[in-house]
């Protein structure tokens, strides 16, 4: 089967600085200042065309970082990412200008994505219809509710016809009816052979939407496989993790981070 996304040994390193002067020294001097923090460490996986892959993991496990790196928003520190086609990231109200109206935002966003004047004119009615904004479309976005913003953002992104779609918690604010509509749209994409990544804390949505799942833990892949294998394991872990006392949780975190740091990169 055709591979659409190949992620190889991707590492994303952030620097933690004690104070602003360390940051400045780090920029100016060749010597490294500050403590390294790995949001992603040596992550590799492959996705086939038409896969719907869910990212699960506790807070701070690197789900959002990974989705940003795949979308090309954040550059990786090491490793390579090969994407067959154009990725598009949908996050809540991502890339909307609050001062402008919904209609103006549609044109603005499409322009930035490289669409021509004619394309935008053709796309506009269906974007507005899908977003169900009615007369609010000519109001400034700052007056929108969070659900309206995410509907508009989702609507623009799906209409720009991306090859790889990354949905970061964007559906959690919409109501059930809109989520159903998005599911329909996603199934349509799936039949067209588009790859989708889905990030959510809702296990229910995950089971409903995804076929495969990646379980991230402290920037590393703990498990990758069929959703019916990964999710039960993850739920089992969550239950155990919940039962731990706060000291045990801290110890677990420290141990995992230590293991991650000590990992030898080949």
């Amino acid at each position: 089967m055709d591979k659409s996304v190949i992620v190889e040994n991707v590492t994303k390193k952030y620097k933690l600085y004690q104070n602003p002067s360390e940051k400045l020294l780090d920029i100016i001097l060749p010597k490294s200042y500050g403590e390294d923090f790995y949001a992603l460490r040596n992550v590799s996986f492959e996705a086939n065309k038409g896969d719907i892959i869910g990212f699960v993991g506790v807070n701070g496990s690197g789900k959002s970082t990974l989705s940003n790196v795949i979308a090309g928003v954040v550059p990786q520190t090491e490793g390579t990412i090969k994407i067959n086609g154009q990725p598009s990231l949908i996050a809540v109200s991502a890339g909307l200008n609050n001062q402008l109206t919904g209609r103006e935002n549609i044109e603005l966003k499409c322009l930035m994505l490289g669409f021509s004047k004619k394309d935008i004119k053709n796309l506009e009615p269906s974007i507005i219809e899908f977003a169900e904004l009615d007369k609010f479309i000519d109001q400034p976005v700052k007056s929108y509710s969070s659900g309206m913003k995410s509907r508009l953002g989702f609507s623009i992104s799906v209409h720009t016809d991306p090859d790889v779609l990354i949905i970061d918690e964007a559906l959690s604010v919409g109501d059930k009816a809109f989520a159903e509509k998005c599911l329909d749209k996603m199934n349509e994409f799936k039949s067209q052979g588009k790859t989708m990544f889905f990030i959510s804390h809702s296990i229910g949505q995950m089971k409903q939407f995804c076929e495969k799942a990646i379980w991230l833990e402290y920037g590393q892949i703990r498990m990758y496989g069929d959703v019916n294998n990964v999710i039960p394991e993850y739920e089992k872990f969550l239950n155990e993790y919940k039962k731990m006392t706060s000291e045990e949780k801290k110890e677990y975190r420290d141990n995992s981070l230590k293991k991650q740091r000590e990992l030898n990169l080949v």
Partner: protein, 268 residues
């Protein structure tokens, strides 16, 4: 050299994008005001009035500048400052204030300062037209020297682009740069022959002031609007110096921009 070509190619390939985005920029920065874009003209008008009152009426006692009324002399130079000042300060913060919104790598980031500068160009053109009309009916009619205005407008845009490429990159990496730029801009208006007459200063001091390429633009606008002569050819060595500076700034700006643009988001 190849860095410069990359940036220039991006500007040309995305010219439609620049035009549309600059209109939205203009719109979104004035949407909250009831008078809207009128403020882009009202603000300079208020400043011209107060500068004329303080420097022309108060300090100079209403005396002429070599036969030219102070009001006309000042406005002819001040008009380009009203374009340069906001363009540099907005252009410098253009990248770090928009990087979140433009969370797309395929978007050519070098056009961000460009469209911000373009959004300042429209009010500048409108102001130039209004000033031309005022001059027409107050003793300085349109002359053949007005042909220089488009040239100096073009020169201003290119200089601003070169400067903003540098400052927008630096201020994204180190945010303090923005404060330094604001301070420099506040000083710069007094270091130019806009509000006070500098040609009585010693030659050496004037020469130092002329190192600032904006000096060239101010004098150029003044020659064009007041019909004083062909500044481009009369000061040909200064013209060459100006374009050399622009080239050097553009060269440094392109290299800096391309070197850091992939990592802009990490500096937030």
């Amino acid at each position: 050299m190849s860095a410069m070509m990359t940036v220039i190619k991006e500007q040309i390939a995305n010219f439609y994008l620049i035009r549309r985005l600059s209109l939205y920029e203009l719109k979104s920065s004035n949407n909250n005001n009831y008078l809207g874009m009128l403020w882009e003209l009202l603000n300079p008008g208020i400043q011209i009035t107060i500068f004329w009152f303080v420097f022309g009426y108060g300090i100079r006692g209403g005396s002429d500048v070599e036969g030219v009324p102070f009001f006309h002399w000042m406005v002819a130079g001040l008009i380009v400052w009203f374009f340069i000042n906001p363009s540099i300060s907005q252009g410098s913060k253009s990248i770090y204030s928009r990087i979140k919104m433009i969370s797309k790598m395929s978007f050519p980031m070098s056009v961000i300062p460009t469209y911000v500068i373009f959004s300042k160009l429209y009010p500048h053109i409108a102001l130039t037209i209004i000033i031309t009309i005022i001059f027409q009916f107050s003793g300085f009619p349109i002359s053949v020297y007005y042909l220089q205005v488009p040239y100096f407008m073009f020169a201003s845009v290119i200089l601003l682009l070169a400067i903003s490429l540098i400052t927008s990159t630096l201020s994204t990496i180190v945010r303090d740069v923005q404060q330094i730029i604001q301070a420099l801009l506040r000083i710069m208006i007094y270091m130019l022959p806009i509000l006070w007459v500098t040609f009585k200063l010693p030659e050496s001091l004037q020469a130092v002031m002329k190192l600032n390429p904006v000096y060239y633009l101010v004098e150029g606008y003044r020659h064009a609007l007041l019909g004083e002569g062909w500044y481009i050819t009369e000061s040909i060595s200064y013209t060459l110096y100006f374009w050399l500076i622009v080239l050097v700034l553009f060269f440094i700006g392109s290299i800096l921009h391309l070197k850091f643009r992939r990592h802009f988001i990490d500096f937030l």
